[in-house]
């Protein structure tokens, strides 16, 4: 079966600079896909290729199995919410939203109805006559969404749409966007560098770094089973250590042998080991696999974040119980919470 959107071996270079290399990604109908990665890793470029504003240097872009590279942006059933909104400064809110409908020669009555309905959807009822300059960032944002969504696109591309908003507004808008997506049944391709946003909104998260896809998966899988040290580090907090796989189910790190659930590595293979701070258990001193001293503690609302120095490594440990600085504690890690991954030369961006 053909996928709704399919990027096959997409590579993009600007001059001598390779910005995307061999991107393989498919997107299904009604899916909420998020491209997540540090700034400069090629998210916007990927989105612009789907929107038709850049042509890939190599590779294919297919919509429903048909080549789309030759389609100009105005012929694609795709609409975009641009990073800086890109509203028309010389038009009021109504004319901005009506822009696409007017091009399609929709009659005035239908346009008015649709624009009104759209403004209601984004909580801006009554804003028709307002100028763009008189709107706050959050309001402009919602006009930009309305302007795109009113055209009934099959796909909506959103490039860091909440980047310029303050935290409270951002959280509200996340919920609003998710609702719009569900309500209208549109495919969303969403770009962000905020891992929290990616995890809470998406069906599928695509983690990118240095122009390459690092991992594709459900938010839970990305968080629980990061494929490499980059993903682990980028998504949530973690302790990342160098280790050696002695045999199946046996890994050594921090100069101690641990039982784990990973297998299939060569004997003595050097690996990266990732342990989430909340997965490091604090035990009475004698019961710990590791023994260390609390060096630092910060209250984080629900939990305490501690730094425990043990075997020459400063462990990030999250716990709801506090252990004052200087306390000697034992640390232990359950086998299934140890993530062993193939070494990846830490790709920087």
């Amino acid at each position: 079966m053909n996928h709704f959107i399919d990027l096959v071996g997409v590579t993009k270079t600007f001059g001598r600079k390779t910005v995307l290399s061999n991107i393989n990604l498919y997107i299904d109908r009604n899916e909420f896909v998020t491209l997540l990665g540090p700034s400069g890793c090629g998210k916007t470029t990927t989105l612009r290729i789907i929107g038709g504003f850049e042509k890939p240097t190599a590779g294919a872009l297919l919509f429903n199995g048909e080549d789309a590279i030759s389609l100009p942006p105005n012929k694609r059933k795709v609409n975009t919410v641009f990073q800086k909104y890109a509203l028309f400064p010389n038009m009021n809110v109504f004319d901005n939203i009506a822009f696409g409908l007017r091009l399609k020669k929709t009659d005035a009555k239908t346009i008015a109805e649709k624009v009104d309905a759209m403004l209601a959807l984004v909580n801006l009822a009554g804003f028709q006559k307002r100028t763009i300059q008189s709107l706050s960032g959050g309001q402009q944002q919602r006009v930009a969404i309305a302007r795109a969504v009113v055209n009934d696109p099959e796909v909506l591309l959103l490039d860091e749409p909440l980047g310029a908003l303050d935290l409270k507004l951002r959280l509200e808008m996340q919920v609003e966007l998710k609702n719009i997506q569900k309500e209208l049944g549109i495919t969303f391709v969403y770009v962000t560098h905020d891992q929290g946003e990616a995890l809470s909104m998406s069906d599928t998260v695509v983690v990118m770094d240095a122009g390459q896809i690092q991992q594709i998966g459900k938010p839970e899988d990305i968080y629980n089973e990061p494929k490499n040290a980059f993903v682990a580090k980028f998504i949530g907090e973690s302790n990342i250590l160098e280790g050696i796989m002695h045999s199946d189910y046996h890994v050594e790190f921090a100069q101690v042998g641990f039982a784990c659930i990973d297998k299939g590595f060569g004997p003595g293979e050097a690996v990266d080991v990732v342990v989430r701070p909340e997965d490091v258990a604090i035990t009475p001193l004698e019961e710990g696999t590791l023994r260390g001293k609390v060096r630092h503690i910060t209250f984080k609302g629900v939990h305490y974040e501690m730094r425990v120095e043990a075997n020459g490594f400063a462990w990030k440990v999250h716990n709801t119980v506090q252990f004052p600085v200087g306390t000697e504690v034992g640390l232990s890690i359950a086998p299934h919470l140890i993530h062993v991954m193939k070494k990846s030369g830490e790709p920087g961006c």
Partner: protein
């Protein structure tokens, strides 16, 4: 505040070279020297401009009015030609050269040449045995005799004032946010629609300043009509020049200048009225674009 001190020389400059001459012109326009050598206030010279030469002369056939309307017509024509030529030129410059504009530099070179020299150059091009006719006969076309006609005057003005149209439009186009253009394409606009619905409306401020910056020197110019019009083709600028330089009637010259200034101000006000857009009517937030 120390900063304000630096503004004073500028204000002084503005007063000395802009405000003061205007006031002097106005003073001469509404005064006259009485029989006993005393200065008296009078609108005689202003009225002279509109007065019929004989009883019952139709308004638009009165000499000064004819010259004035002709001047306006020539200026309007020049401005229109400059716009028709200048907009595509500015567009091409902005699109293909953006910020590193070698072509723009080429465009500037003639501006460094003296204004008189450039206009004299046109005379040698246009005259009966000039460059233009040499070229025409070379390709077997009949020669034309356009020097000392209104065509030559308009040509000279367009040539001299075209940069004033191109630069403001160019700078608006060059700084136009490309993502707005992409947004229009994204919403389904083809190239033509992008141009007429987004680019053109957004370049209106540049167009307005281009129109004013060409219209003003065109309507007041006297050197170009003198040279390329051969002195037979009189515009209001020539009338004013004559009053000051040849007749020596400063009062009437000033009165005509004042009338012309008033007319230009009126026209600019009219253009502003057309351009009046409902910006920031009911909000604070100027500059809070993002």
């Amino acid at each position: 505040m120390l900063k304000r001190i630096f503004v004073y020389p500028y204000i002084l400059w503005m007063f000395l070279f802009i405000a003061a001459p205007l006031l002097i012109v106005l003073w001469f326009a509404i005064t006259d020297t009485g029989a006993d050598g005393q200065t008296v206030f009078t609108f005689y010279h202003v009225a002279r401009f509109f007065r019929p030469a004989f009883a019952g002369e139709p308004f638009f056939q009165r000499l000064y009015i004819v010259v004035l309307t002709r001047s306006i017509w020539i200026a309007v024509l020049t401005t229109m030609v400059c716009f028709v030529l200048g907009y595509p030129l500015a567009y091409a410059l902005a699109k293909f050269f953006g910020h590193r504009s070698i072509l723009l530099f080429l465009f500037l070179v003639p501006l460094w040449m003296n204004f008189l020299l450039r206009t004299y150059a046109w005379m040698t091009i246009l005259e009966q045995n000039g460059v233009l006719n040499a070229l025409l006969s070379l390709v077997g076309l009949p020669t034309i005799d356009i020097l000392f006609t209104d065509t030559a005057v308009v040509l000279g003005m367009v040539y001299n004032f075209l940069p004033f149209m191109v630069f403001p439009i160019y700078s608006v186009l060059k700084d136009m946010d490309n993502s707005v253009i992409e947004a229009a394409q994204d919403l389904g606009a083809n190239r033509v629609q992008v141009f007429f619905r987004v680019v053109l409306p957004m370049s209106v401020p540049g167009i307005i300043s281009g129109l004013t910056m060409v219209f003003m020197p065109s309507v007041t110019s006297f050197i170009i009509p003198n040279l390329l019009g051969g002195g037979q083709f009189i515009l209001v600028g020539n009338l004013i020049e004559q009053q000051f330089m040849r007749v020596g009637d400063w009062h009437f010259g000033s009165a005509m200048s004042a009338i012309l200034i008033a007319l230009i101000l009126l026209m600019m006000g009219f253009i502003k009225l057309i351009d009046r857009q409902p910006r920031n009517k009911d909000g604070p937030a100027e500059g809070v674009l993002y």
